[in-house]
């Protein structure tokens, strides 16, 4: 691979795989899955190797068609985008390994090929948003991944079209806001290139149209990120989408929104603008804190495991929002680390929900009992470990996210945020523990359920290796990434910090 065009290769790889799948798999349907998997594996390998390349050699810029920015479109692989692409591609790879069986179970065979094609388009969109250095290009990729996602959600169960429609409407509104914001920005600055805007904005100062542009762009991606109170689309979409879609969306989708927020706030508008000129950072932090409490409390009330996890996602996105809004190095490190950590945790939990659905035919909390645990001991163990991580117990990853976020809060003297972070641990404990307790202690009070798909009724039947191994890999990663987090933080995240923050010493 030629290093200079590395930023553009990943989105193009996914885009062309997405277009190629319907052609190649026209005769042999099975090929669709393997093509998608191969593309994701290649992208993951490239993304991980790019991290090292970027950390050693600095950011890689690629100009599409040779046109120089600000006229042409620029793709930038800097430490931040390298980190986020690694997270999303590796998690997508692990989830896709798991997805083969659930897609076979959830969807009629005729839909497999378009499904994987859409997954590829979605990944193209995600990677494109992260790698582009141009605000309008972000919009293009946003629409690509959103359109793919509407389709991916809508193929789920009976209620999924409604959920997808709701997602569509809100997603469109979000997209429109973002586009309007970009328009305002272009109107006042005459540029769409991020690096270019970074130089122009200080000159413009706090003009009304710049403030409106910022507000609209944040609104647009706040919706994409499902930051409270813009999360309305998320619970239904996660709940009713097919297992594979929700396991892809939950760990990855909201992170893209968080990434764009970080990019806009810290790398384009800059620290002074977002804290002094227009204090949007504080607003985002408060919304994050509200999201943590709201999401956690809602999660307690849910009976469907996937829906509980969805509300838990609202809360976890709140952590990222809170970290972003703290506007100090450790808050941002916490937010970035939580992008990785929550990706791992949520992926693991959704895979567990998928395993339950596959083998038990449901993932209703009130129907889980010892019988489920007896039949699926490893899946249950993975769930327990992920639950401990969500609660934030050391040495799992969740503890360290909280550590940095709490530290960031204390640095700012924000005692309310510290209290929210600590209390939310206990709220997480309540709603996760409710499930763990059932799985281990609730005696099975009825004959074993006959499942709808495969497996001997009543007999012990753990999920198959293609589903179990990804789940366990993620569970082990929760411990490994937790113990190694100092390396991640010092080796990668501290180098990501934007100019205004990197100078602030711990």
């Amino acid at each position: 691979m030629i290093p200079t065009n590395a930023p553009a290769l990943t989105p193009l790889l996914f885009l062309f795989t997405g277009l190629f799948i319907p052609l190649a798999a026209f005769k042999i349907r099975k090929l669709a899955y393997w093509l998608a998997l191969a593309a994701t594996a290649a992208a993951s390998a490239a993304a991980v190797s790019n991290i090292f390349r970027v950390l050693d050699g600095g950011a890689i810029h690629y100009h599409f068609g040779g046109w120089l920015p600000p006229i042409g479109i620029e793709y930038v692989l800097d430490p931040l985008s390298a980190f986020v692409t690694s997270v999303i591609n590796v998690i997508a790879l692990i989830v896709l390994i798991h997805a083969r069986r659930t897609v076979e179970a959830d969807l009629p065979e005729g839909k497999h090929v378009p499904y994987y094609a859409l997954v590829m388009l979605m990944m193209a969109g995600f990677n494109g948003i992260v790698l582009t250095g141009d605000f309008f290009n972000v919009y293009v990729f946003l629409e690509i991944c959103s359109l793919a996602l509407y389709g991916l959600v809508a193929v789920g169960d009976r209620k999924s079209p409604v959920a997808a429609f709701r997602y569509l409407v809100l997603g469109m509104i979000g997209g429109c806001f973002y586009l309007l914001g970009v328009g305002f920005l272009y109107m006042s600055s005459g540029s769409l290139n991020m690096a270019d805007l970074k130089a122009i904005l200080p000159v413009l100062g706090a003009r009304p149209e710049v403030i409106v542009a910022l507000a609209f762009m944040l609104l647009g991606f706040g919706l994409k990120m499902a930051l409270f109170p813009l999360h309305g689309w998320l619970p239904d979409a996660y709940t009713y989408a097919p297992t594979a879609t929700s396991s892809l969306m939950a760990p990855i989708g909201t992170k893209i929104g968080a990434y764009v927020l970080i990019r806009i706030l810290y790398f384009v508008f800059g620290l002074t603008f977002i804290t002094k000129t227009v204090p949007v950072a504080a607003i985002i932090a408060w919304l994050g804190a509200a999201a943590i409490l709201y999401g956690s409390i809602q999660a307690m009330a849910q009976d469907e495991l996937k829906r509980m996890l969805a509300f838990s996602s609202v809360a976890q996105v709140g952590y990222i929002g809170l970290g972003i809004g703290l506007a100090n190095p450790w808050g941002l490190v916490g937010a970035l680390l939580h992008i990785l950590n929550h990706g791992l945790m949520k992926a693991c939990l959704f895979l567990v929900a998928g395993n339950f659905r596959m083998k038990l035919g449901h993932s209703r909390i009130s129907r889980l009992d010892q019988e489920a645990r007896r039949r699926m001991p490893w899946t249950t163990a993975a769930f327990t470990l992920a639950a401990l991580s969500m609660i934030g117990l050391p040495p799992t990853v969740g503890f360290f996210s909280k550590w940095y976020l709490a530290w960031g809060s204390i640095r700012n003297g924000s005692w309310v945020f510290l209290a929210v972070i600590l209390v939310s641990s206990l709220l997480n404990a309540v709603y996760f523990f409710r499930v763990v307790e059932r799985l281990y202690l609730k005696p099975a009070d009825r004959p074993p359920q006959a499942e709808k798909s495969g497996g001997a009724a009543g007999g012990p039947s753990e999920a198959g290796p293609s589903m179990l191994i990804p789940t366990l890999v993620l569970a082990v990663a929760l411990l490994a990434a937790g113990l190694l987090n100092a390396f991640i933080v010092k080796g990668v995240l501290l180098k990501i910090l934007p100019p205004g923050l990197a100078g602030m010493n711990p």
Binding site: W403, A406, I410, L418, S425, F433, N485
Partner: protein
């Protein structure tokens, strides 16, 4: 304790890992109980051996340290076997060996279900306890503290009855909340010290000028964090509830390992994080003294009202743990030495009493004090051991409880707070009031339904006799522990 006396050694790490390493073996041999119990005993003996091998260096004032990798910037996962740590580890690992023998008798005697799970989590708990004893900084401490919280839960709910599940929830609600407070306190300390969380004799925060509005809330956070496990009032109510656990769990974890991890944490916080000067400046030692005196007296009074034997012992534990915290709060060398002695000696006495309670439950199926009439006739060894423990807890010579209480009283008087000696005497009387009636019922009243009943199996009786003899022996020859405790205290407060 000076940095010059630190040498690199992996033994503290082995002490932590050995029982963790035993867990897979225990799980794999679930179908062969004898092999499974062999792993537990082997791990216990190896762990005890590791700790013993650290003892000579600790007595000489040298500290074995094992530094692992960084977990948060500036803070490593690090173990240091300082005197204080060796002291605690010695007690916990030594009593684990005896408790393992006892567990075998108890679990088989009652034909308990899920014994593999029981032995596996027991091993994890001990691993965490060693980690707490040897933790060199707050992050390492919290890591093991939380592992201990989680690993104890399956032992508390072992019976899986609705009552046990309720007790488990209560236990988790209390201990997880405490963990959260402790994490908050640690992060705050991290911010104040600029990334240094190493325990330092005389206080990690001693070199920093803290305003009262920082120091007092920070101390309260720490107090909440370690106060739950050390069951100071009003944070104690999980402990009596947790008595639904099998008796060996109550004996080792809820009289030695878990609760004393809390007390040990309290000593770490007062002497190694805050330091005496800071505590005195803001009157925090007085706060602690008031809390502990209240707990000592109220705990004993509540113990009087319990009919369930284990609950009575639990309230007694609540009260005795506060003796140790009181000693730490007095902020003087002699007081801390006395407190450490009580940490060790209370362990030997209380574990004896719990062992007796378990033996009675296994062989007679009785759990209430009012059902114990005449038990001494059929279980003479058990009740003799119980008598020794009861005498010791009331602070009568020649049992070891007398020694520690004597020194504590002397330190209180020497520290200018003679009224505390009065509290100790009063509490000793209350101890006698709730423990002696049990002895009196057992030996001097006539019981019914005891025909043909005998002592429990030797697996149970031998350990409880050994712990009783240990209590007696340490009362007569307290020198080893006294030396270690005195030197540990001298390392913090200077020689005396």
């Amino acid at each position: 304790m000076n940095p010059a006396g630190v040498f690199s050694s992996l033994i503290p790490l082995w002490a932590v890992l050995v029982s963790l390493a035993a867990v897979p073996f225990i799980l794999l041999s679930s179908r062969r109980p004898n092999l499974r119990e062999f792993w537990t005993l082997a791990a216990g003996l190896v762990m005890f051996g590791c700790v013993l091998s650290l003892l000579p260096a600790a007595l000489r004032g040298q500290t074995a340290a094992a530094e692992l990798f960084e977990v948060v910037p500036g803070v490593r996962l690090a173990l240091r076997a300082d005197r204080l740590g060796v002291f605690f580890a010695l007690i916990a690992s030594g009593l684990w060996v005896l408790t393992s023998c006892y567990s075998i008798g108890y679990m088989r005697g009652l034909q308990e279900h899920k014994q593999t799970r029981y032995f596996a989590f027991f091993a994890v708990c001990l691993s965490a306890t060693m980690g707490i004893a040897f933790a060199a900084n707050l992050v390492t401490f919290i890591l093991f503290y939380e592992i201990l919280t989680i690993a104890t839960y399956p032992l508390v709910i072992h019976q899986e009855t609705p009552e046990a599940i309720r007790a488990g929830r209560k236990y988790l609600a209390f201990t997880l909340s405490a963990g959260v407070l402790l994490i908050g306190a640690a992060v705050w300390t991290y911010q104040i010290t600029g990334g240094n969380l190493d325990f330092r004799p005389g206080g990690l925060l001693a070199g920093f000028t803290l305003a009262g509005k920082t120091a007092v809330p920070l101390f309260l956070l720490f107090l909440g964090g370690v106060g739950v496990k050390s069951s100071i009032m009003p944070l104690h109510s999980w402990l009596p509830a947790a008595m639904v656990a099998p008796t060996p769990v109550s004996a080792l974890l809820h009289a030695v390992a878990v609760v004393k991890a809390g007390v040990f944490g309290m000593i770490r916080v007062t002497a190694f994080v805050f330091g005496p000067d800071l505590l005195r400046r803001f009157g925090l030692d007085t706060v602690l003294i008031v809390i502990t005196v209240t707990t000592i007296l109220l705990g004993s009074l509540l113990a009087l009202r319990q009919d369930n034997l284990k609950r009575r012992l639990a309230y007694s534990t609540v009260s005795h743990l506060s003796y140790i915290i009181l000693a730490a709060a007095l902020l003087s060398g002699p007081a801390l030495a006395a407190g450490l002695l009580h940490l060790a000696f209370h362990a030997t006495m209380k574990i004896t009493l719990f062992f007796c309670a378990g033996a009675i439950a296994v062989s007679l199926g009785r759990e209430n004090v009012s059902q114990l009439n005449g038990v001494g006739r059929v279980m003479p060894w058990t009740m003799a051991a119980f008598t020794i423990g009861a005498l010791g807890l009331s602070g009568l010579p020649p049992i070891d409880g007398f020694v520690s209480k004597w020194y504590l009283g002397a330190a209180a008087v020497g520290g200018g707070r003679p009224w505390l000696a009065g509290v100790l005497v009063l509490s000793g009387l209350l101890n006698a009031a709730y423990l002696f009636p049990i002895v009196q019922r057992a030996f001097f009243r006539r019981g019914v339904g005891l025909e043909g009943r005998r002592e429990a199996s030797a697996w149970m009786v031998v350990p409880l006799i050994l712990t009783a003899l240990l209590s007696l022996g340490l009362g007569l020859y307290p020198n080893l522990f006294f030396d270690l405790a005195r030197r540990a205290a001298a390392g913090i407060f200077g020689g005396f």
